[in-house]
């Protein structure tokens, strides 16, 4: 008698894939097919510059561990999964990400969370230029990027929504917490920056404000999440070291044109 086909078990054994020798297309195909067959824990070993890891995957509840250095556009258009990078990441992390969570235990390159509209990116170390640009929030979707270290120029450029937190761990005279043109063109959302911030670096569309009670209430769980994720011992909850940066107007260029 033929046996009844059985459903895939609810919790599968963790899937381990070695990326060595695989093209990114094949690697991602393997990841997708693992997810389709029900995997919830996937570990990618020997990753070395493979692009698009997790890109365009709609699968809440899936965790992808990345060992090695992932390539560009990690988690682009991400829709649900939780990606943990145990090393540094390169450029384009979380490009136009919709939902999910990306943790990077090292540092990340340029253009993190471009046009991000949901989910959460946590980065232990520094980030490059143009981080969190064009970030957007809409209703219940409010993206969040927490950067442990320092950021380059154009941080939060054209930000239109969501939240960025820059902790500036390891900042010094030679390594300022954030580069120039911070928040230029920002017209929505909010950013919190910890540490010494020179006002001239800010775009003219924004202002610095000390934190109020709401800010503290918002930040506290965020910072706790960061510390827990990366096992950071540093005392981060000194709210007076933070400033809040918010746009003056939702319409920065309203008077630029004449009809």
């Amino acid at each position: 008698m033929a046996t009844e086909p059985t459903l895939a078990p609810a919790v599968m054994e963790p899937v381990v894939i070695s990326a060595a020798g695989l093209s990114y297309r094949h690697l991602n195909e393997q990841v997708r097919s693992a997810i389709r067959s029900g995997a919830t824990e996937i570990t990618l070993n020997d990753v070395m510059g493979h692009r698009y890891i997790g890109t365009g995957i709609h699968a809440p509840g899936v965790t992808i561990h990345v060992n090695g250095v992932p390539g560009e556009d990690l988690g682009a258009f991400l829709d649900g999964p939780h990606i943990i990078v145990h090393n540094n990441a390169q450029d384009g992390v979380g490009n136009t990400m919709n939902e999910g969570r990306i943790e990077i235990h090292g540092q990340a390159g340029d253009v993190v969370g471009y046009g991000m509209r949901g989910g959460r990116i946590l980065i232990r170390g520094d980030v490059g230029y143009r981080v969190g640009i064009h970030m957007k929030g809409y209703r219940d979707k409010q993206p969040l990027i927490v950067t442990g270290g320092c950021a380059g120029n154009f941080y939060g450029e054209y930000m239109a929504g969501g939240c960025q937190v820059l902790l500036g761990i390891g900042q010094s005279d030679k390594k300022p917490v954030v580069g120039q043109y911070c928040a230029s063109g920002m017209h929505g959302g909010v950013m919190y920056i910890r540490g010494e911030l020179d006002g001239w670096k800010l775009g003219k569309e924004v202002q610095q404000i000390p934190l109020d009670r709401h800010d503290r209430e918002f930040l506290k769980p965020v910072l706790e999440d960061f510390c827990e994720t990366f096992a950071v011992k540093e005392k981060l909850l000194e709210f007076d070291r933070f400033v809040r940066i918010a746009p003056v107007s939702a319409r920065p260029y309203g008077r630029l044109y004449v009809y």
Binding site: Y24, R25, N28, R32, R51, Y52, T55, G56, H58, E72, D73, A76, F77, D79, D91, G92, N95, T96, N98, V111, Y114, G115, R117, R130, I133, H134, K136, G137, Y138, K141, F154, E157, Y158, A160, G161, G185, H187, G188, A250, R251, P252, Y253, G254, R255, L256, Y257, V258, Y259
Partner: protein, 515 residues
Amino acid sequence: MEYYEEPNARVALGLRRPEPGDWYHGYPEYHVERDDDKCIRCLVCVRQCPYDCTFYDPYRHGVYNVHENCVNCRRCEFMCPTSAIRMTKWGAGFRDNDNWKQKTIRTVYKQADSGAVSLTGLGNDREYVSYFDRMVIDASQVTNPSIDPLREPMELRAYIGKKPERHTNPPEVYPNLKAELPVIFAPMSFGAISFNFQRGLAMAAKEAGTYFNTGEGGLHPDLRQYGDHAIVQIASGRFGVSLDYLSNAAACEIKIGQGAKPGIGGHLPGEKVTWDVSRTRMIPEGSDALSPAPQHDIYSIEDLRLLIYGLKEATEYTRPVSVKIAAVHNVAAIASGIVRAGADIVVVDGFRGGTGAAPAVIRDHVGIPVEVALAQVDQRLREEGIRHQASLIAAGGIRSSADVIKGLALGADAFYIGTAAMVAVGCTACQQCHRGRCSWGITTNRPDLAPRLQPEVAAERLTNLLHGWAHEIKEMLGMMGLNSIESLRGNRLKLRGVGMTQVELDTLGIQQAGL
């Protein structure tokens, strides 16, 4: 609802007083002539004017105009049930001067009034050479028969996307768009245009078996049903871009540039971001929607490749990826790079393309005509042996089926029509798109104006336009003895030039008429 004003709220009662800072409006440009005998005071025109130009004076029981507000949109003229209204130019205008034309003087006034960038809508309105208008088409006479398209099959179907270089068994298959005629509706975002218009475009695209392009404004939930006929755009602002948006569409298009304003981004002013626009773009209501020119993750061709393949990964290689660029000086080399970066479709948008809003100085002086760009791109891709790797869509300034035929012969696979589609549904080219109160309900979402264009009406008119063009294209194909557009595509022998220099002819790759 708060910012709605009764259209006749500005009752001037005949007393004109230009503001010190308003010289621009101090000199009316148009004159609304009203035949008082015919006017029945039904006030239809008063209710229809969104530019505060027409008002009713109850004391004189008459309808009057604040002429300096008139933009010559001609809505009142169109709607007047007794044809009592006629638009004319205001008087003599400024003293005749070919150098300092009316427009030039007025623009200087406007900027001196405000100190701001002069914004405008629609496409380039300057008197540049139209190469389309200097090309003529071949026809069969005696030696080879023309074909009667009424009886004979005539194929306009275009597959748009990458093709294999050679046939193999089994054949290589790449995702392609299948358009029943090589005309696609150009990217126009909801927000810049009304929902009704976009819906009309979608309905017409479905009906005619072609595609519409969402522009960079996201895909409205109500238009998801037309996803099979939607090309969705990804621009720097990433409005409404989500996995669902990408995978629900027929193709994804990366917008690098726009013909009307190469190198300039989009800027949807906050007042146009209504509730519906807001949920489509997934941004808060009333906030500016800024989409600057550069995609901030694309600063080089390899970055473009990164995004192209990012989109392919996200859609699991099931959708063609298009890249749209403005036609600029070295467009051939750029297009070649784009094809080599993996794009399945390259859109070249000429400088006559329309826009919802652009600084006039850029709209009028930047970019090149699509005809030459197209000729050069097609030639370059052929020379490099990569023409099959991508389809070529020409956009910006396609006004008629003749332009389509000529563009096909120059080498395009398909065409975007934007302004032509707007004109089809009533646009009078008054160039006020940027003001968000289009009197025809095309480029506005103001709730009192938007219903003026009904999706079914728009769809019907657009379908009619496409049918008309399709018939004309068929006639012209038949006339050339062809029964499939593939045999016209790149067939430059079917074109001859008139009134062009040899350099121009060579650039277009065609011969002088008579030879």
